[in-house]
Amino acid sequence: MKTVAETDREPTSRFTTISGRPIERLYTAADVADIQYARDVNDPGVFPYTRGIHATGYRGKLWTMRQFAGFGTPEDTNQRYKTLLRAGGTGLSVAFDLPTLMGRDPDHELSLGEVGKCGVNVTSLADMETLFDGIHLGDITTSMTINSPAAMIFAMYLVVAEKQGADWKKISGTIQNDILKEFIAQKEYIFPPRPSMRIITDIFGFCAREAPKWNTISVSGYHIREAGATALQELAFTLRDGVEYVQWGVDAGLDVDIFVPQMSFFFNAHSDFFEEIAKYRAARAIWARTMRDRFGAKNERAWKLRFHSQTAGVSLTAQQPYNNVVRTALQALSAVLGGTNSLHTNSLDEALALPTAEAATLALRTQQVIAHESGVANVVDPLGGSYFVERLTKDLESGALDYFAQIDRMGGMVEAIERGFPQQEIAESAYRFQQAVERREKVIVGVNDFVQTDEPPIEILYIDDSASDTQLEKLAKLKRSRDNDSVKRSLDSLRAAARTTENLMPRILEAVRAYATVGEMCDALRDVWGEYEEVPRI
């Protein structure tokens, strides 16, 4: 006869998080015996902010519901923004197309077939004026997912704001401006790492003086996670990227108490519910301690990690796409329980195409249901004190610090990237996860289990080449109508400044005002710095 203990025995290998972290059957007081509340966790609004940066949680202010959108021409996207704002969205978030992200104009050979496909095409200030036509930049906040050409796109936004009569000192929003995660994961880099870092510290310095409410960077784990990282790798690499930016800022002579409060973060909201919540809690505590103890920051605002989150695009399935609504709702709930300051929920059709207006609206509604019907926003950090969540939070914290030590030994994140360290770690995790899916150790509903073969197709947004034709025509017209002498002068002065250490932002603003294109401005810098090429590794 079997004993109770034997019949109760479970195959342990199955009980892991989506990141492969083993999970115990039960957590008790014994699992958190090493955790001291005041030292390790503490109340919301109090160092190290594990439970949140605001004492009042969402009672004072709900998270910002910020839906990432962009496609086709600036005219197309302007219409979508107006739809989202009418539907109750509380902030804008611009998705640019690949030519814009890569600093190429629509007439460059590499832009073939890519204009307006993955986002909106913005070639010059004229496009930025159209994109925000009828939208007052003094009244809303805008996040722009732009990295290598962040300075150029930000300069365009500033000039549009100025033309609308909005004060740079008062406008708020975010540029992603996180080049390290491009080298690590998303690979939309242009210039080599070191000059890329210099543009970023130039932006830090410029904004400290000219746009103090602007978030100068959104240090992003999102793409690192999408590329295949585990929750721990996402946490560790993102925060270590943050440390790298702070170090470069300090080395450029900037004051941590002034520029660090303008930094923000961006995390993935993936499918493993509790692991995600623990990740956000751990992130806040690590950042607070690192800023205070490693960099000697005295301003509490420099200790407080503010973050946006987005549900996991990679978790969406093309099969049975309506299941994605449920996945997204659970992921969004984890971000809210983890204290996100702003949130994007993905649309159900995003494994197939860019979302339709209907699908994007449903995604926003998902957030509104969580905010206004579920009751979870009434209480701050409702999972604080859970044996399981506190243990997981602490373990993720110490795991991330181990990665910090490893990267510090390599000489920092730029050096680690040059060696391919985070890239290899992520590729390894991605492959391991795919193997686990193939062996059905990890179930993906509708893909490797509960499969349905007679699915009717759903309607998707199909983006044809008309955006490309329109943007090409507009570009040709612009080149005929603008003052090409002042364009040339401004590009020459940008090129010259790139050879010195002066802050590039004023030169870029000058070129933008002359209607120089993103491609022209990036080319001026390519002339000086060259382009980065990654060694392909598998």
Partner: protein
Amino acid sequence: MRKLRVVIAKPGLDGHDRGAKVIARALRDAGMEVIYTGLRQTPEMIAGAALQEDADVVGLSILSGAHNHIAPRLMELLHAKGLDDVLVVIGGIIPDVDIPKLKEIGVKGIFLPGTPMQDIVDFINTHARARV
């Protein structure tokens, strides 16, 4: 018979290489010789790699929507180089309406999100012919 030689390429401006890298490893683990070109390859560069590497298979990873421009150009170039017998497959996000056009120009396999790696390995083993 020698091992199948596969060029995995990532054309266009997109840098999302998770799929390309995972499938490259899976094909290698399945016993094929895999050459990964890296990012931002033009159709000219990919056709050149196919010729130079004596490839039996070219696999493209495209998520950006640029397939209708990239695939026809690549097929033309392969034809011009006398590489009509190279098996061309695409993995990525391809709207249903585009699939017949791609098949018509000679793309033999189109693998959408969620396709098991083993299906791709099997497809290549069935349809590719190792050159002698």
